[in-house]
């Protein structure tokens, strides 16, 4: 008998997103933790646990979760030795927190890792972070030639977005998206956010909205997407909505940079009293991270002391620490701005020239350059950079977060 149906259920269920993925990660972690208790010698499951912990931390962005990963990785390396996959995980973790010297040590712990595809990805990332732009580009291109994985396409896309090849960057993000399946919706949403950021930093807010919404649709419930919504709302002058969105995001992921953003939004709208607790909290968290040995927030501290608290000597101190770790156009521009705020214009000009020599095409950096050159009486050059900054992003004076 033919049991053919004539009509199926037409309405697809909403896509699974952040909540479901986090639940799965938590469940896996619980199972693996339980196994660790019973079979502490099962290296494979211990490695899996470390990776799952990293997965969870990447989802939540919570410091405590990243600390759990670090603890698990160090403990497992201590018990089993520097296994390649553990060293790779540690290298990725260290890279995320700007501990670049540690990344090198991690790769050296398992010497063959340097030559592996995954190791070479990190080496190219290091090249970019440390200002060896051409080496980074060649590295990404070689990796893509070898195996055009979505993440390496995105890395090259990021490179091009910073160095002014905007259309090529977007095309690379599109190519990266095409490599992803429905089983990788978080990665797809992340790529859509990058495309949105590309649009946002060039003043194309409607395009940014389109990409952010698509990210939200593809991977619902992600606070990281909401963070982008909040910034865009603020840039558009929808301050109340932005405020509500920032508060919502902070409730889910109380990262200090988000608290600073909310504080700065209040400053931007003249609500100084409301700003202070958020800024105080952000600063306390930055400094707490430093006391615990962290280096990830040096850049934020430099920005914070240069513009929020206006303690330019402190700004220079943190900018110098940052640049000692990774000298690139971003840290050089931050240093230039801190020096300028500290009244050391000629030193500031040196650093901004260094940043510009990289070939970076960023409205914020060009705007900094314009200010510095005009302050130095180099008006023509200043006006030129101001003009290009406007060309790149006509909206660059609008609210934006410090990333």
């Amino acid at each position: 008998m033919n049991e053919m149906a004539s009509q199926a259920d037409l309405r697809a269920p909403p896509l699974a997103g952040y909540r479901e993925e986090l639940e799965r990660a938590e469940k896996d972690i619980a199972e693996l933790e339980s196994r660790r208790q019973r079979h502490p010698g099962d290296l494979e499951k211990r490695v899996r646990l470390a990776y799952r912990l990293f997965h969870r931390a990447s989802l939540t962005g919570r410091v405590a979760h990243f600390e759990s990963v670090e603890g698990a990785v160090l403990e497992t390396i201590h018990e089993f030795g520097p296994k390649e996959d553990l060293c790779l995980l540690k290298a990725n973790l260290d890279f995320r927190f700007h501990r670049l010297a540690e990344v090198r040590r991690d790769l050296q712990m398992s010497p063959l890792l340097w030559g592996r595809f995954e190791g070479r990805v990190l080496v190219a990332d290091l090249d970019f972070q440390e200002g060896r732009y051409e080496a980074a580009r060649r590295g990404f291109e070689r990796l893509i030639e070898e195996n055009p994985t979505w993440d390496n396409l995105a890395r090259l896309g990021h490179w091009k977005s910073k160095l002014g090849e905007v259309a090529e960057a977007d095309q690379l993000y599109v190519e990266a998206e095409d490599d992803l399946t429905a089983k990788q919706m978080r990665s797809y949403a992340w790529l859509e956010l990058q495309r949105g950021v590309l649009a946002f930093t060039h003043g194309r807010y409607a395009d940014a909205w389109r990409h952010y919404r698509r990210a939200d649709e593809a991977y619902p419930g992600n606070w990281h997407t909401d963070e982008h919504f909040a910034e865009l709302l603020a840039a558009e002058g929808k301050f109340q909505e932005a405020e509500a969105m920032f508060q919502k995001v902070i409730a889910r992921s109380p990262k200090p940079e988000l608290q600073q953003a909310l504080g700065e939004l209040y400053l931007f709208t003249g609500r100084l009293q409301e700003a202070q607790p958020w800024l105080d909290s952000a600063l306390a968290r930055y400094l707490e991270s430093v006391w615990r040995g962290g280096v990830h927030y040096f850049h934020h501290l430099a920005d914070f002391y240069a513009d929020v608290r206006e303690e330019p000597a402190e700004a220079v101190r943190w900018a110098r620490k940052d640049i000692e770790m990774r000298s690139n156009f971003s840290t050089q521009a931050a240093m230039a701005w801190a020096l300028y705020r500290n009244g050391r214009l000629s030193d500031a000009l040196e650093y901004i020239r260094l940043a510009l020599s990289s070939g970076v095409r960023d409205a914020g950096i060009f705007s900094t350059a314009a200010t510095l050159f005009e302050a130095a009486g180099e008006n023509a050059e200043g006006q030129s950079y101001a003009g290009v900054a406007l060309q790149i992003n006509p909206m660059h004076h609008n609210f934006h977060m410090h990333h």
């Binding site: 009509q7 697809a12 896509l15 290296l43 990776y51 390649e84 998206e177 095409d178």
Partner: protein, 528 residues
């Protein structure tokens, strides 16, 4: 990526990669109804569960029917001849051959869309419920039986033994995914344990080493630092003079399920010229929806569902396929697992003709491992190993160097155990390995029983039959010519100086197959 004929699918051997419903397990095909119908079964990982399909997947069964034409140069045993054959196959598959398709997309976890494309009666589609036998009438008045859903996995095999024979480290050791050089370790492949091979020899203190347990875990060891070498010069023997088999014959897939697309199709639906086109070639593919189209697919276009018999325009279908990414292919058992080294970029399905030269080199590499093992047991091998007393690790850069060693293995006709494969007694030539694996299709001869290599029946022990390629089919044992099931004969092992005394792989499935459609047994109960 799946390892064809290997339900442990290579990726799952690693610690941090989950099962995927795109991992194809097997492709079966055999004639029924006196050669008037043909059954095809594509099996794949039962994720999310047996009988529950993943709505991001698209499966294709590709079919083509053509005459049984013998390769004219089949008796010319030369490299040139076999390379000409690969070229001819390429021309055939890229040129004249018309391929029809049965495409399955998952509408909901319990309902699938089945589209019939490129058949002579025109394109049509229908929606069917999973886990039910359904009859699908065709526009030309015929009937197709279909079952799509959960079944017992029809594969029965000592996978761990196979991995031990090819030194596949990730089954036995914790091998990070990054360490690609530590997969097949560079020591001789072998059917008999090597004296002093501490890397893979059986460990009495760890009898379950490398065997996946009911809870899904696999006892493994920490991979010792390299170099991974073996410096011995003989096979291992016990105090009684017995070799130790790397297999123990257990069914590593016992009690486990798969999802399956099973179709029984009239031959005349595939081709109007059934009398001439006695071969039906089939192979399967899995595709996963691209992320970008996952977003677009809400809500989906209901036209398919409202008009299940609606003819399909080619253009629309191409658009559909473009929304998916090809992940896996499956045609011939062991075409990938044993011959293509499970490399993802070699998942080519029927179009594997460009792998022909690699196939020769790989077969020679395997031959240096298995050939001496066979000789040591007192059996004749088709592989020329220069009377080596023990397995040898040897790889080849040049096809021309590999070919003389493997010529007989490639060209010999694979004897069948008895005449039951050819019930009509027709002058059907026995198949040769080079014809079986290139192209990578399940080539069902409608005048045979469809037993491998004339198709693939559920009860065929294809892993043991694959090993039989290395037997010299001109030799005799117990007064009978060697044949493809000889290594499954318990009497042979009883008389061989070996322990354990078992055929390498189980002789039958853990569940009885059904004698009627859908043929694969009911799934085992699952806990979730």
């Amino acid at each position: 990526m799946a390892d064809h004929n290997d339900p442990n699918a290579v990726n799952h051997i690693f610690s941090d990669i989950d099962y995927s419903p795109a991992d194809l397990y097997d492709f079966f095909g055999w004639p029924t109804a006196g050669g008037n119908n043909v059954v095809f079964a594509l099996t794949f990982a039962s994720t999310p569960a047996a009988g529950v399909l993943d709505s991001d997947l698209l499966y294709r069964l590709l079919l083509t029917s053509h005459p049984r034409v013998g390769w004219p140069d089949a008796d010319e045993i030369s490299l040139e001849s076999v390379l000409r054959y690969f070229d001819a196959v390429k021309d055939k598959y890229l040129g004249e051959l018309k391929t029809a398709e049965i495409r399955v997309t998952v509408e909901t976890p319990s309902r699938v869309m089945v589209k019939f494309l490129g058949f002579n009666c025109g394109n049509f589609s229908t929606v069917v419920e999973v886990n039910k036998v359904v009859a699908i009438p065709t526009p030309d008045g015929q009937m197709i039986q279909a079952f799509i859903g959960g079944r017992d996995d029809a594969f029965f095999n000592d996978l761990t033994g196979f991995f031990r024979s090819i030194n596949y480290a990730p089954q036995f050791y914790h091998v990070p995914l990054t360490m690609t050089e530590a997969r097949e370790l560079p020591i001789p492949k072998t059917l008999l344990e090597l004296e002093g091979n501490d890397l893979f020899n059986y460990r009495p203190d760890m009898p379950e080493w490398g065997f996946t347990q009911p809870d899904g875990t696999t006892p493994k060891l920490d991979l010792p630092p390299g170099p991974w070498t073996w410096n011995g010069d003989k096979f291992k023997k016990d105090a009684n003079g017995n070799f130790r088999f790397v297999y123990d014959g257990r069914d590593c897939r016992a009690g486990q399920n798969c999802n399956a697309i099973i179709l029984e199709v009239p031959h005349s639906f595939i081709t109007p010229a059934t009398a001439d086109n006695r071969l039906v070639n089939g192979w399967g593919e899995s595709w996963v929806r691209k992320a970008a189209h996952k977003v677009e697919s809400i809500p989906d276009d209901p036209s398919w569902l409202m008009h299940p018999w609606k003819a399909v325009r080619e253009k629309e279908l191409d658009e559909e396929l473009r929304k998916y990414k090809l992940v896996d292919t499956d045609g011939q058992p062991f075409a990938d697992a044993a011959l293509s080294e499970r490399e993802d970029d070699r998942q080519l399905g029927a179009n594997n003709f460009w792998l022909g030269p690699h196939f020769i080199k790989r077969l020679a590499h395997l031959g240096w491992g298995f050939g001496p093992s066979i000789s040591a047991l007192g059996l004749k091998t088709s592989f020329d190993h220069n009377n080596s007393p023990v397995s040898v690790y040897k790889t080849y850069d040049l096809v021309a160097t590999a070919f003389p060693r493997v010529a007989k293995t490639l060209f010999q006709k694979l004897n069948m155990p008895d005449p039951s494969w050819n019930p009509k007694g027709l002058p059907i030539p026995l198949r040769r390995p080079f014809e079986i694996f290139i192209p990578n299709v399940c080539a069902v001869d409608m005048d045979t029983s469809g037993t491998w290599p004339f198709g693939r029946r559920l009860e065929d022990q294809v892993a043991t039959r694959f090993l039989s390629m290395f037997l010299d089919m001109e030799a005799q044992w117990n007064g009978k010519k060697y044949h493809i099931d000889m290594l499954g004969d318990q009497a042979l092992w009883n008389s061989a100086p070996i322990v354990p005394k078992t055929p390498p792989n189980p002789l039958k499935n853990d569940k009885e197959f059904l004698d009627q459609f859908p043929y694969l047994a009911e799934p085992w109960p699952e806990n979730w």
